[in-house]
């Protein structure tokens, strides 16, 4: 929410006016990275955020490579308590829970990434188009956006799951992306309109610059930080939505992931009534909490880097 309200003020230092483009752009970029470094150093907690998110990225890429395709089972240790061998105990089949969390990360994060890319691409495109063309297109697109925003997403996903099984992470990402672009579209539109109000577009037109240049070189860079922040938030949103769907058990369990773990722990393992399956439940929960913490810290840092008003304080 704080990010939404700050969107108006978010500006990119690279789009600062004046100067010869080549030289100033390079120095500005250097200053920009220096600013990033300064912001990160001032509050060490933000460094923690970067480390956490990087850790999850590594987990998603390399995690499944660390383990055999079929995780070993230990029939003598069903729901084993946490130990050195099994830091988070084992599940109902005697599989190591930590291994499940690590190998399950890829599906979850891949969906998140796919969703974020689709959300941001669609939202930016629609928002830019509406704000740039204005008039009739704007009205129609914003009405569609309103509906997109107002439709209860999760119930719709549940209903959709009866006809569509979302088998691959990409398919899942596509559906989530199609449902979630409204917020970005609206914000990008209002950004475009406000840039227009500041004479940005008219000035560029007056210089005879082509539309692609205006959009690609003038408009998009000044919105880039905002879009990037939204992309991160979209990743978490998608992770939560799909883990939630698996947790509810409305999707077939094709592969191992965090949502499946939650479902099995709660509805098969009785983690909510007996303490034995609790570590099995806590492991994916902790993973989600950590991921959220990491992204929150990074978004907070980005907010400070790109929002001059906050930087002064």
């Amino acid at each position: 929410m704080s990010i939404m309200t700050n969107a108006q003020e978010t500006t990119d230092p690279r789009s600062a006016p004046g100067g010869t483009p080549g030289v100033t752009r390079a120095t500005l970029r250097r200053n920009f990275w220096r600013g990033v470094w300064r912001v990160l150093r001032r509050k060490p907690s933000r460094m923690v955020g970067v480390v956490i998110v990087a850790g999850f990225a590594v987990m998603g890429v390399a995690g499944p490579l660390l383990y055999p395709d079929h995780l070993p089972r230990d029939d003598d240790a069903l729901y084993a308590p946490p130990s050195l061998r099994h830091p988070f105990g084992t599940d109902f089949e005697g599989t190591d829970v930590l291994a499940l969390v690590i190998t399950g990360a890829r599906y979850v994060l891949l969906t998140g990434l796919a969703t974020a890319v689709i959300t941001v691409a669609l939202g930016t495109l629609i928002g830019l188009f509406a704000g740039f063309r204005r008039g009739r297109w704007d009205t129609v697109l914003m009405r569609v956006t309103d509906v997109n925003l107002a439709i209860p997403g999760l119930p719709l996903l549940l209903v959709l799951s009866t006809v569509w099984k979302f088998e691959s992470p990409l398919e899942m990402g596509l559906v989530l992306g199609l449902l979630g672009w409204g917020g970005i579209a609206r914000a990008v539109r209002s950004q475009t309109l406000s840039l227009r109000e500041r004479g940005f577009i008219e000035a560029a037109r007056g210089l005879g610059l082509p539309t692609t240049h205006i959009i690609g070189r003038e408009l998009l860079p000044s919105m880039a930080p905002y879009i990037a922040m939204n992309m991160l938030i979209a990743v978490t949103g998608a992770v939560y939505a799909q883990v939630g769907l698996f947790f509810l058990g409305v999707l077939p369990f094709e592969s191992n992931n965090w949502g499946v773990m939650l479902n099995l722990a709660v509805f098969n393992g009785g983690a909510l009534t007996t303490a034995a399956a609790l570590p099995y439940l806590m492991a994916p929960l902790l993973a989600i909490l950590l991921l959220t913490l990491g992204i929150v810290l990074i978004v907070d840092a980005m907010d400070e880097i790109f929002n001059p008003r906050l930087r002064e304080e």
Binding site: M1, I151, M282, T292
Partner: protein, 360 residues
């Protein structure tokens, strides 16, 4: 359905009418806003109804036709089977797609959502009616509690924003805002029902109590409601505290607050100036928050085994009770639309600038 037509008509009249009045509250402006909301709400309900229809029609194996055919196999005459199926789904199993669609919309207009399969013979509206209170009451309680808590802590976080306490409040707010509702619910249950069992782990009420206005039953009801309501509250608390904090920080920088101080107004009065101006924009978020909580009810009711709309929806999907599924989906949507309109009316009632039709 004519929401789109009405929407067009509205914009036409507003174009021909002179610009909105700038002075004194005008009931006309309010009426126009409400009409706009109702039109948009109807449009959305229509979209959702159409989605439900398409999905029920498109479900692999065509349950409508399947039902119709199985009834005929059981020895019913085609007419009887057709009527029985129509009662179940709200539209005729035979005929063109368009006939089925208009039939479906027509029965919706008569508030007929069909009958349940999993609870044979019971009307969907009855099931939804008895489930709704288990969702609506906790959602409202959670919204109110989180609003109060978030607003108070938001002011605090804004005042202490450069200190450690402010950092902690803001970070906890961001975390709670970011974390999915089921994580909150599962953690709460794990802690307060499994590890340290002071709360019941599920269900709306202990079975041994006789329903009615007796203290045992009401106490048990309240006991069982604690964790779900706390989960609802925590789920939207984060949003409120973040929004309130940034609003208060913005208002603190406004000139009229400095002006009030320089005029020597009492601290209490200045504080009320700040609070009122900071809270006002939150009403635009209220609708969003309620919508989010309605969505969250699906998880919360699943976790706490609470017989509300969310549990009904998930149950209808697992038991392939499509009429119930479509109906529940529709009612959740209607709940959100109504919350939208109420939130906007509240906002209109409080902000003089909107009331006079200025910045609509």
């Amino acid at each position: 359905m004519t929401p789109t037509l009405r929407g067009r008509a509205r914009s036409k009249t507003s174009k021909t009418s002179p610009t909105s009045p700038t002075s004194s509250a005008s009931p006309k402006a309010v009426a126009r806003r409400v009409a706009g909301h109702v039109a948009r709400g109807l449009a959305m309900i229509w979209v959702v109804a159409t989605i439900s229809f398409v999905i029920i029609r498109e479900i692999p194996g065509d349950p409508v036709k399947g039902q119709y055919e199985s009834l005929i196999q059981k020895g019913m005459s085609p007419e009887q089977a057709e009527r029985a199926t129509a009662v179940l789904y709200g539209f005729l199993p035979t005929g063109s797609l368009w006939e089925q669609y208009t039939g479906y919309i027509n029965s919706l207009l008569h508030l007929d959502l069909g009958r349940s399969l999993s609870t044979p013979g019971v009307e969907v509206t009855t099931l939804i009616g008895s489930a709704a209170r288990w969702t609506v009451l906790p959602v409202l309680a959670g919204t109110l509690l989180s609003f109060l808590l978030g607003v108070i802590m938001g002011v605090y976080a804004a005042i202490k924003r450069s200190g450690r306490l402010g950092d902690v409040l803001a970070l906890s707010g961001s975390l709670l805002h970011g974390v999915p509702v089921y994580v909150i619910g599962l953690l709460l249950t794990a802690i307060f029902a499994t590890l340290w069992p002071i709360m019941p782990s599920g269900g709306p009420v202990d079975v041994e109590h006789v329903p009615g206005l007796n203290p045992g039953y009401l106490g048990s009801l309240a006991h069982h409601a604690v964790l779900p309501v706390v989960t609802y509250t925590l789920a939207s608390y984060g949003g409120w505290i973040l929004a309130m904090k940034s609003n208060v920080v913005a208002v603190l920088g406004d000139d009229f607050i400095l002006a009030a101080e320089l005029r020597g107004l009492k601290r209490g009065i200045v504080f009320r100036y700040i609070a009122r101006n900071a809270i006002l924009p939150l009403f635009t978020v209220l609708a969003l928050s309620i919508g989010m909580l309605f969505g969250g009810s699906i998880f919360i009711e699943q976790i706490f085994n609470y017989p509300g709309l969310g549990l009904l929806l998930v149950g209808s999907i697992s038991s392939r009770d499509y009429a119930l599924m479509g109906g529940t989906f529709l009612v959740i949507t209607i709940g959100i639309v109504v919350a939208n309109i109420v939130a906007d009316l509240l906002y209109t009632a409080i902000d003089p600038r909107v009331r006079s039709g200025g910045a609509a």
